[in-house]
């Protein structure tokens, strides 16, 4: 009792610190609300028969009719989902690559060379997909360098890779891997650095060779990081991203390259069907968040640690 009085006397009319911090944070909360939460109200349009130009109040409430419409458009939906899941699945299969690359980097004793490799291989991560497209254009277009080399070697290059319908998925995957492999390896390089050095010393004393050390110490040491990355990748299954598929889209590969993110764009912007596009985006976000939280619960159960 005496203490509170003394506090009162000392602080006088000054506002409690916690309240002050709270009040100062309000503008930030409003800002975040305006830019990240207000757009969520747009989801309401998925339940109305909306046409651009009208106010939502003038539109008819149609319940889940638009979702039914999406499901009824079976061929298109199946094609888009096939492309989306195919890209995600190939991406999952490619997940060991950055791990292997990180292990290789770790085996390079010359630190200058190691840094050089790391610097050059992470560069592609820092250019936009538009630039990746121009580089790919310079290499793979009908008079690009690689195409010309293939021609000189007598290979059949009537369809250059940019317009090759058969190899769209693997080509897009390769481009994505080119862009992100070096960057993706950094996280594993960091976790290798975190492995207890005593384990390596002990293995050395026991006469383990390089391969045995990698096999029995490094790789098991990377399991937890790999597991987290895999869960994140799985929960991002529906989010292939928009930019890559947008810049590489062309009529020759259209049916193979159209992933969900591109579909949302095409329906919304090119065909101007706002409600359908919004409904699609809404389903995508809800499924992704559900997946993420499921993955998180799984992680908690298996490792006792959450990922988000």
């Amino acid at each position: 009792m005496r203490k509170t009085q003394r506090e009162k006397g000392l602080i006088g009319k000054r506002m409690p610190e916690g309240k002050k911090f709270f009040l100062v944070s309000i503008p930030f909360v409003i800002f975040v609300f305006a830019f990240a939460y207000i757009p969520l109200f747009g989801w309401a349009y998925a339940f109305f028969d909306y046409r651009p130009g009208l106010s939502l109040l003038d539109c008819d409430f149609v319940g889940f009719k638009i979702f039914a419409k999406i499901l009824n458009n079976k061929n298109e939906l199946i094609r888009v989902m096939r492309n989306t899941l195919a890209m995600s699945f190939i991406g999952l299969l490619g997940m060991p690559l950055p791990v292997i690359f990180a292990i290789m980097l770790n085996e390079i004793q010359n630190s200058k060379f190691r840094k050089l490799v790391q610097t050059t291989t992470t560069l592609p991560n820092f250019i936009s997909w538009i630039v990746v497209f121009t580089l790919a254009f310079a290499m793979f277009s009908s008079d690009g360098l690689v195409t010309n080399i293939c021609k000189a070697l007598g290979m059949d290059v009537r369809n250059n890779l940019l317009g090759d319908n058969k190899h769209v998925w693997i080509f897009q995957w390769a481009l994505g891997t080119w862009k992100s492999l070096g960057w993706g390896a950094i996280i594993y390089v960091a976790s290798i650095a975190g492995i207890d050095a005593e384990l390596y010393d002990a293995a050395h004393v026991d006469g383990a060779n390089r391969w045995q050390t990698i096999r029995h110490i490094t790789i098991p040491g990377l399991y937890p990081t790999f597991f987290v990355q895999m869960l994140l990748q799985i929960s991002n299954m529906l989010n292939n991203g928009f930019e890559q598929y947008f810049v590489f889209y062309n009529p020759l590969v259209a049916n193979k390259i159209e992933v969900l993110d591109y579909y949302v764009f095409r329906i919304g912007v090119l065909t101007n069907d706002y409600p359908q596009s919004i409904a699609l985006g809404m389903c995508k976000t809800i499924i992704s968040v559900t997946l993420l939280f499921t993955a998180n619960r799984l992680s908690k159960k298996v490792r006792g640690e959450s990922i988000v």
Binding site: G42, S277, G281
Partner: protein, 295 residues
Amino acid sequence: MRIKKSKGDRIGDFFIYTICILFMIVCIYPFYYVIIYSISDPAQALKGIFLLPRGFSMETYRQLLRTNDIGSAYMVSIARTFFGTLLTIACSSFFAYLVTNQKMYFRKVIYRFVIITMYINAGLIPWYMVMKAYHLQNNFLLYILPGAVNAYYIVLIKTYMESLPKELEESAKIDGAGMFRIYGQIIFPLCKPIIATIGVFSVVGQWNQWTDNYFLVTSAKLQTLQMVLYNYLNQANRFTNMSGNSADAAAIAATITPTSIKMCITVLVVLPIMCVYPFLQRYFVKGIMMGAVKG
């Protein structure tokens, strides 16, 4: 101590070095190719280029820099990168400072409220409609405002701030410093390493961003460099159409080619990144390592 390598180790080394060198070449060569193409003589370049430029000509660059859209796009890209990064750093770091104070009312609720925005995404069309409603269409503020309070950066900065010794803030408080002063003169300067990291992330992000431009900015004055590159890619003949009279256009068409234009703009777009990137690489690495430690 040097341990003599066994035969198996040497074979392993050879294998590892070969793969690393090959992968390095795959990563770097496209950039190199574009650069040597851009300084080659456009007419000779059509015959094919591999390791060295063919001829030498800066004609395409000269013509490109004469058109006003490249210059203006450079200014817009630099402006959005500079102001966008400044605003993001200021807002995100200050907010992170606020939520590190244990006494803050509703601290957990407010922090979660902001962090959740990392995972929820309203989608393209709702975003588009809202930005339009805020009058950000054809507005420079569209480039810098929406990302000002970034949840991911806040997690990184907050984690870093929590690792700082509490005593500094306590003693400043006893000396009568207010919250803004403690933030500005004590906490922010101590956070320099993490601020540098997110600054670099933000710079690269801003420089490479173009979807906001594509969807909402049609005004010629506000086009970013990335968008100009994209437009040139899709309209090979745009350049010759642009320069007013036809005699001029014919003269230009004789000296430069659509491909040389594309290559030159690509160089103009990636050169800033390539120049600063090797020096900033360590900040990226630090960032991703800290990112692995969740907040």
